[in-house]
């Protein structure tokens, strides 16, 4: 990570009435980083973002922006700008006036204001709609106005509060790509708040997963998905099969675990583990077959198909095997691939290496 632009130090936010929205959070966000705050609703991610923007003040802790503690600096004196969830485009101003607003109120000369506003509108491909009123724009266009309006201020950090939640699925995907591209172009830090894991995984350089006011894990998307640190993260990011197990011994680089229905399996792991643990394995790592796999060293189970959901490119299959339920994602990679039906007897298998041992 490059030098931090934002340092959050032991930040606590308590609301009147006793709820603690953010509970002693500390982490750094680097220069030019695309950072995502991800978590279920009510986890404190939006409150944290609003504290960075200055729209809320922390009850305790420091928020250091570019080397200066700004925990109590009003929002109009911070080098950060925000794209609001409702976009908050001023309804009584034209698109161009909206973008010019932030420069106008700080006394930027008129011709420079106009020039920069037009550049910002061009950047979000709205250069031709400057005279329009916000109510004549689509949701996606209003969002671009909000983006241009924030970027024209040349902030050190751009904050985005659930920016894509109001868009339909197709547009959301297009905007994800565009936001990622925009971030690379302008070269400033983006902090995005989202509850949508796909959004965070596809756009962010690093993701902080939050739960109940605390940060559960901060990692790059791949690490977060393939090596979640806790049961909560594994379950929140993507789908996962969680199996209760007991550690029976450690043999070199392998941990022996015993789980109901699986018997004893050896899992390659460097982490020390003992006692009760949770085994996690992603549905796409599982292989489905009609006969027992011949390859040695796999975890193998015989079971019955309980449910099949067809999604075109993949099918999500639920298999009951040895008293446990396993979700398996099957790629429909051939047109005439054998059709799996409910009630069919199948074999489920996976490599022990794809299994994670979660201790918390």
């Amino acid at each position: 990570m490059s030098a931090p632009i934002i340092q959050i130090r032991n930040v606590v936010k308590r609301f009147a009435g006793g709820t603690t929205a953010v509970d002693n959070v500390s982490f750094d966000i680097g220069q030019n980083e695309f950072f995502a705050l991800l978590g279920p609703s009510g986890c404190g991610k939006t409150t944290l973002l609003r504290m960075i923007a200055g729209l809320e003040t922390p009850s305790e802790g420091e928020i250091i922006i570019d080397g200066v503690d700004m925990a109590f600096t009003p929002p109009n004196q911070r080098p950060v700008n925000m794209v609001f969830q409702s976009y908050a485009v001023f309804p009584h101003m034209s698109v161009l006036q909206n973008v010019e607003y932030g420069l106008m109120v700080t006394g930027t000369p008129k011709d420079e204001t106009r020039k920069r506003a037009k550049e910002a509108l061009d950047m979000v491909q709205l250069g031709h709609l400057g005279e329009r009123r916000p109510d004549q724009l689509s949701g996606g266009q209003r969002q671009r106005v909000a983006l241009a309006r924030a970027l024209v201020k040349r902030p050190k950090v751009l904050l985005l509060d659930e920016p894509l939640s109001a868009l339909d699925a197709k547009l959301r995907e297009a905007m994800q790509l565009e936001l990622a591209r925009l971030q690379k172009t302008v070269g400033i830090t983006f902090i995005i708040v989202t509850h949508d894991q796909d959004e965070a995984l596809s756009m962010a350089d690093r993701i902080a997963v939050m739960n109940a006011g605390r940060v559960s894990q901060i990692a790059a998307p791949i690490a977060l998905y393939e090596a979640p640190a806790s049961r909560f993260v594994a379950d929140f990011i993507g789908k996962v099969n969680l199996i209760d197990a007991t550690v029976t011994g450690v043999k070199g680089n392998e941990v022996a675990c015993k789980a109901k229905g699986l018997g004893e399996i050896l899992i390659p792991s460097n982490q020390p583990a003992k006692g009760q643990v949770t085994l996690a394995v992603r549905p796409e790592k599982l292989t489905l077959g009609t006969a027992a796999p011949k390859k040695a060293g796999l975890v193998k189970l015989s079971g019955t198909v309980r449910d099949v959901s067809y999604y075109g490119d993949t099918s999500h299959v639920i298999v009951t095997a040895a008293g446990i339920e396993l979700a398996v994602n099957v790629q429909n990679d051939a047109r005439r691939s054998s059709i799996i039906t409910r009630g069919q007897n199948v074999w489920v298998s996976w490599a022990p290496d794809d299994t994670l041992i979660l201790t918390e």
Binding site: L55, N76, M82, S86, Y87, A88, F90, P91, P134, R142
Partner: protein
């Protein structure tokens, strides 16, 4: 109903009865129409008669004698009536200005802030709407009497002060209600966005809040203007010999018989009131331009 059974769109436009009556088509039921017509007749027939007879070419104004505009000239040339109208307009203009500013501040305060005893405060602010006008009139008269404003001649236009103060007192709660209900639809993120973009509290008020509030302000001001212009009871108690307003003057004239020039002057007042009310209602119409979504 199948598509075939539906009459052609053209037919439907010119002859709605061609469609069967729906469960919510109350406007097409006979008893409903009769009721509606009688309500309108009861409410507006006297006004219509008053306006019609302002054009009546008759001194005694009982039987229709023919069309004339001369009583408008008579009313215009009646110096007392003209002075009363001038007084009314000055009082309405000044009290509207103050009532709008005070009312807007109260409206914003009630919309924006939470504070102890807010409910009691709110009720207190609405008191001038609730208490009978006669009570307000008598109490204000007693108050101004104590100040000595009712017994000494302050000289025009200072003798209008008591009436202006009284009118501000009963007009501003109406402005407060209108402004507050307008602000309920305000998206708070607009204010946050303004500050986030570098605007101060004052700039945010000036450039974001005020433009949003404007229709409410105009509607409230027009309401206050209308209320002030045609108020009788409170004005009657707070006016002196030199500060007669139009409604008070008309009342004293009517006691000597209704002449067409009163009809003419009243018609002018009706026109002013109706125009102001229509404008106020237009301004209060729900915001269709979206709320910065």
């Amino acid at each position: 109903m199948t598509a075939e059974a539906r009459p052609a769109p053209g037919l439907r436009r010119f002859w709605p009865a061609a469609l069967p009556q729906g469960p919510l088509d109350y406007g097409r039921r006979l008893w409903m129409r009769v009721l509606l017509a009688s309500v309108f007749l009861f409410l507006y027939a006297p006004i219509a008669v008053l306006i019609a007879f302002s054009f009546n070419d008759s001194k005694r104004n009982i039987v229709w004698q023919g069309f004339t505009l001369k009583y408008y000239a008579v009313a215009w040339n009646n110096a007392d009536l003209f002075d009363a109208m001038t007084n009314s307009l000055i009082i309405a203009a000044v009290s509207t200005l103050f009532a709008t500013v005070i009312g807007a501040m109260v409206g914003l305060q009630l919309w924006r802030f939470r504070f102890p005893f807010k409910g009691a405060y709110e009720g207190f602010m609405a008191l001038p709407i609730v208490i009978p006008e006669i009570t307000l009139g008598v109490s204000l008269m007693a108050f101004f009497f104590k100040l000595g404003w009712m017994t000494t001649d302050l000289g025009w236009p200072f003798n209008l002060f008591p009436i202006i103060i009284a009118h501000i007192a009963f007009c501003f709660p109406f402005v407060a209600i209108v402004v507050r209900s307008r602000m309920v639809g305000f998206n708070m993120q607009l204010e946050e966005a303004s500050k986030d973009l570098g605007a101060s509290q004052w700039q945010t008020f000036r450039h974001v809040l005020l433009p949003y509030m404007k229709p409410g302000l105009i509607a409230g001001a027009l309401l206050a203007f209308t209320l002030s212009l045609d108020d009788f009871v409170i004005t009657y108690f707070t006016s002196g010999p030199g500060s007669v307003t139009f409604p008070v003057k008309v009342f004293s004239m009517v006691r000597r018989g209704v002449t067409p020039d009163i009809n003419a002057a009243s018609t002018v007042l009706i026109v002013i009131t109706v125009v102001a009310t229509v404008l106020a209602m237009k301004m209060q119409a729900p915001d269709k331009t979206g709320k910065g979504q």
